[in-house]
Symmetry: C2
Subunit: 384 residues, 2 copies
């Protein structure tokens, strides 16, 4: 009769108790010195996680708004941009840009494929676009794109690279300055272990300069107004102060754990999840490599509706995984590895999946085979 819920999705992720407690603290006035000190700590902590010396703009919004901020600050109507996509969140870049009358050169790959840096560079050379939009971790498929290689391929042409890292930042390596990424957008609710409601954009000098002299009509999402307010220790508009308090606690946890150890931890969880999935006799949809460590996407067996598996897991076992999006709806199941996730979350996800599949008539393997295999993987290598 217990109803404890296990949220093992690629976001929102479970919030650690320290973060929940920080959020429940009394509201601090956003124009007070207390908030100024808090904001300054948080922005410095974000710069470390973004691996950048560039300012990181904090917005009270979903990650999509941070994506939109890049479009409206960098591109005027009728200006040309390249979007390279192979999944639901890559499609969103194109939809946002088109909503703002940007002329989009859209390089669409198959869902589940990795973006090809040379193809992007060639397209940019061919059309003369000044801005390129890509997704780092394509949460809809589990694929992590090679942002470092894409940035390197774009360097000769001088186009600006904007990366959606909403579901990757803090969970896998993303070296903004070292790789030369102009704009990285992210959200609070994935590897940053804070509830949804805050979004971020790190903004390079040349991106800021381009925005100051260009883009199109915007107010709430205007970078210059936001950055100037932050330079005075404020936000341009009333921020979600409680979530900022929570984020401060989360960033402290990340620093204490160490970002390198977190990356290694997530890789380990991904590896165990994937071996467990195979032990259940299932096929992986996402690539099984070290870099794609944010989410594992699993093909559902022929004749079984993924949405039914999802509902059974949720309603009977209170284990919440993520189903497929768009054309993959019903086809796959996704297990998240980022944020405050540990070995037992992976074991639970695999145990739940084994139980639900078994109840729905799947006979490809014993229901406990996935959980058992994950435990063996964890036993075979020390935790980072």
């Amino acid at each position: 009769v217990a109803e404890k819920q296990y949220l093992i999705t690629p976001g929102p992720t479970p919030v650690p108790p320290e973060v929940a407690a920080a959020i429940a603290q009394p509201v601090v006035h956003h124009r007070s010195p207390d908030f100024k000190a808090l904001l300054s700590d948080v922005l410095a902590g974000l710069q470390r996680v973004f691996a950048t010396q560039n300012p990181v703009l904090l917005m009270t919004a979903s990650g999509t708004a941070a994506m939109e901020s890049a479009v409206v600050n960098l591109l005027g109507r009728g200006e040309r941009a390249v979007v390279a996509s192979a999944g639901n969140f890559g499609e969103r870049w194109a939809a946002i840009a088109e909503a703002h009358e940007v002329e989009v050169v859209h390089l669409r790959g198959e869902w589940g494929e990795r973006l090809d840096p040379d193809t992007i560079a060639t397209a940019v050379g061919g059309c003369g676009a000044r801005v390129v939009f890509v997704t780092h971790s394509e949460t809809s498929t589990g694929v992590v794109n090679d942002v470092q290689a894409i940035a390197a391929a774009l360097r000769p042409a001088g186009a600006m690279l904007v990366v959606d890292a909403v579901s990757s930042l803090g969970g896998i390596p993303l070296m903004t300055d070292l790789w030369g990424v102009d704009v990285v957008v992210a959200g609070s609710q994935k590897a940053l272990m804070t509830p949804p409601g805050l979004a971020f954009a790190s903004i390079s000098e040349r991106a800021r300069a381009a925005a100051a002299g260009g883009g199109q009509g915007r107010f709430y999402l205007d970078w210059e107004a936001g950055l100037r307010a932050q330079e005075k220790g404020q936000t341009a508009f009333t921020p979600a102060v409680g979530l900022v308090q929570g984020l401060a606690a989360a960033l402290e946890l990340i620093e204490r754990r160490g970002i390198d150890r977190i990356w290694a931890h997530n890789r380990r969880l991904a590896q165990a999840a994937r071996e467990g999935v195979r032990a259940l006799g299932l096929e992986l949809f996402s690539p099984d490599d070290d870099s794609s460590a944010m989410v594992t996407a699993v093909r559902m067996p022929d004749g079984l509706d993924g949405q039914e598996v999802y509902a059974r897991l949720r309603d009977r076992y209170h284990v919440v995984l993520a189903g497929g999006q768009g054309p993959l709806r019903g086809q796959i199941m996704r297990i998240g590895h980022m944020g405050d996730m540990d070995e037992f979350a992976i074991v639970t996800a695999l145990a739940g999946l084994g139980l639900a599949l078994h109840e729905l008539g799947y006979g490809g393997a014993s229901p406990g085979a996935g959980a058992a295999r994950a435990v063996e993987v964890f036993a075979s290598a020390e935790a980072p």
Copy 2:
């Protein structure tokens, strides 16, 4: 040595413990049936507070973004709109509209004055604008504008009325449907007693129709996409689920207390604050009437810098009031009455103000005169 903080500003307002506890609950996945039920409750509760049958769109953002949503959904570039303002937040309507290349006919009143309905109607008749933007409670001055009269004056011309009720909704009467207001925008952090981070817009049928066929480029703030998602029990983008949980608790408190009683309570607090201010020998900046019950603005005595009084109150007594904005900076002090504020908050604000003024050399009255007078006002009439 105690450091308990007293937040007696016109927002953000203190969060009741029930709301803080709700926010600290584990994160619910925003595509789950649990969230669907929560969202449906919250949207129904908001409709009751908005006094409307129109849908209320929930956005994860500051109130400013909800204001901007009205501009970009209703007005194309080059289209004409009337903004009537007499304070900082009225100015914001004009700034947002101008950022989006709307042709603004700006009726600017003196800060501290009330908007004149006939002047607005005449201007609309003269310029043929389809949309009018006004502020309900102008937090920067304490003035509450007569939205009912403005709506009535606009009716013959058929222009749509958009009202910024960020700092008034739930605290003073605002009968959206009865008065015929097309769009009301509001935020979570004032009378709704929830931390900042959620914003709302109630949208009339004709406003929705106008938006569907017009406006300009938008994505995150697109009304139609948001309303369609809500009709399916979802939000278009990952919402601040924790704040939605908190808002549900706050709406429950409001229903339990009764909205009429809350309005009467706020009027009573305003009355006591104003009599207390006069007993301190100070002048009111905001009008002393029953409708302007959200905030009391007080002129600082000649020769005293309001910012110094503000800092003294905050640093020595941990009482946070609000100073003046824009041209009123240093000239006034503002005491909030909305949200989870009670008699003792007003006594505390007046006691703190008396102490701080006394320490800064003010000799116009005994430092306890304001608190004493407020207590007498409370004694003279029963609580609603």
